[in-house]
């Protein structure tokens, strides 16, 4: 397993967008880390019954190896939050806690996790950038930096009573890429 000590990149609302060069360097760093030697790891996953108990918007199918690698490392990010920022971790909601908006709204993405405010607004988006290419990183940045709110608005989802529209700010949402 990779030791994840800090994000590859963090963007805050008001920051300048990452340059092409910066996106290339993040993409290179995300790919390079998988060149290290690796070995099999035993993991435990939830059953269909646990999915049902929590009402997770995922199924409990046998996941592909790359998905398991992603989920295992993303769990490590969550545990790091629990250790270093327990208050933020307490407001952590993973992708499985939301319907797949990508299936509902054109061009919408479903990030790995959100840190949510009491009012239901995303304070931070957290994504594990397995081995993303620069164009994927650019699309993710646009999603967080106001694109998501624009896509929801184009779908007519702007009402403050709408829990999905409330999630994203038109000014953008800070994010971390791990």
């Amino acid at each position: 397993m990779l030791e994840l000590t800090r994000p590859l990149y963090a963007w805050n609302v008001g920051d300048r967008p990452p340059s092409d060069q910066r996106l290339q360097s993040i993409a290179a760093a995300s790919r390079a880390r998988w060149n290290l030697p690796h070995r099999p790891v035993e993991v435990f996953t939830v059953t269909k019954r646990t999915v049902s108990l929590f009402g997770a918007f995922v199924d409990a199918r046998r996941i592909k190896q790359c998905e398991a690698t992603h989920d295992l490392h993303f769990t490590e990010v969550y545990l790091r939050y629990r250790h270093q920022s327990p208050k933020l971790a307490a407001n952590w909601l993973g992708e499985a806690a939301f319907p797949k908006l990508g299936l509902e709204v054109l061009h919408m993405k479903d990030p790995d996790a959100f840190v949510i405010s009491r009012q239901g607004k995303a304070q931070r988006i957290i994504e594990f950038a397995g081995a993303y290419e620069a164009d994927h990183l650019q699309a993710f940045h646009e999603h967080c930096a106001g694109g998501a709110a624009a896509h929801l608005s184009a779908r007519g989802w702007t009402d403050s009573d709408n829990p999905f529209a409330r999630l994203y700010s038109t000014a953008g949402t800070s994010y971390e890429l791990w």
Binding site: L53, F98, P99
Partner: protein, 250 residues
């Protein structure tokens, strides 16, 4: 000679009949006893058990020892009810009755589950034979009183959002006249009007706040996507978790 129950004992037996089971903390929540309700509820249940009016059975068989009380055959006869209500409950019924009794009696406000006879006399135009009666009158946040049907989420292995679909199915089964015997169609029409006038709701009882949130989000998603959405209110009954997943015996 069998000692006859007092008037207060009769009220307790009627409570057990209404919810099919009870425990001291559930009986205490009804307000039948004033003051030290828990202690008095415990004593009353033990005494009615000793006198043969109540029987007890394991709430979590094979797990942590805790007894629930149900009517004895003698009590069923005393209340003029069929002996079937004096049987120990099978797993699914036990979990569901426990969740409903806990929600109704230990929550605020107190909710009184209707008996079949009460439903038949109060909603004569809606009732026809063969329907489950798990209704109570629910006072919403807006002060409106609606007829509510209780559904207990026992977290099965199927897709959890089918719980919402099962509520839609319940409504279709009772409002679509083509699915209903001719003699019951006037009741179905009346129920359809009831639903249209927003006088009916499902109350779903679930074990975890995460599940409540997920159901509410899915309802919001379906509403926004203009899919049919049954009227559902979700409540968390934390005690339901152990009823579904009992702790191992220590």
């Amino acid at each position: 000679m069998v000692k006859q129950p007092s008037e207060e004992d009769r009220v307790v037996l009627e409570h057990v009949f209404r919810y099919r089971l009870t425990l001291p903390q559930i009986l205490a929540g009804t307000g039948i006893f004033s003051g030290e309700g828990d202690h008095q509820a415990q004593e009353t249940l033990e005494r009615l058990g000793c006198d043969g009016w109540l029987s007890s059975a394991e709430l979590y068989p094979g797990h942590r020892p805790e007894q629930y009380y149900h009517l004895s055959e003698r009590a069923a006869k005393f209340l003029g009810q069929d002996a079937i209500v004096a049987q120990p409950l099978k797993h699914d019924s036990r979990v569901e009755c426990f969740a409903i009794a806990t929600f109704c009696c230990c929550g605020k406000p107190f909710r009184e589950l209707m008996t079949k006879e009460e439903f038949k006399s109060t909603f004569a135009k809606l009732w026809y034979p063969g329907q489950p009666i798990r209704h109570y009158l629910d006072k919403g946040d807006d002060g409106t009183v609606r007829l509510a049907f209780l559904k207990v989420d026992t977290a099965g292995t199927g897709r959890w959002d089918r719980l919402i679909d099962s509520c839609s199915h319940f409504l279709r089964q009772r409002t679509d006249e083509s699915r209903i015997a001719k003699e019951h169609r006037p009741h179905a029409r009346e129920f359809a009007r009831f639903v249209e006038r927003d006088q009916f709701r499902f109350t779903v009882l679930t074990a975890l706040p995460e599940k409540k949130r997920a159901i509410e989000l899915e309802l919001a998603r379906r509403t926004l996507s203009r899919e049919p959405v049954p009227p559902i209110t979700v409540h968390v009954v934390p005690e339901l978790f152990e009823a579904i997943f009992p702790a191992p015996q220590m």
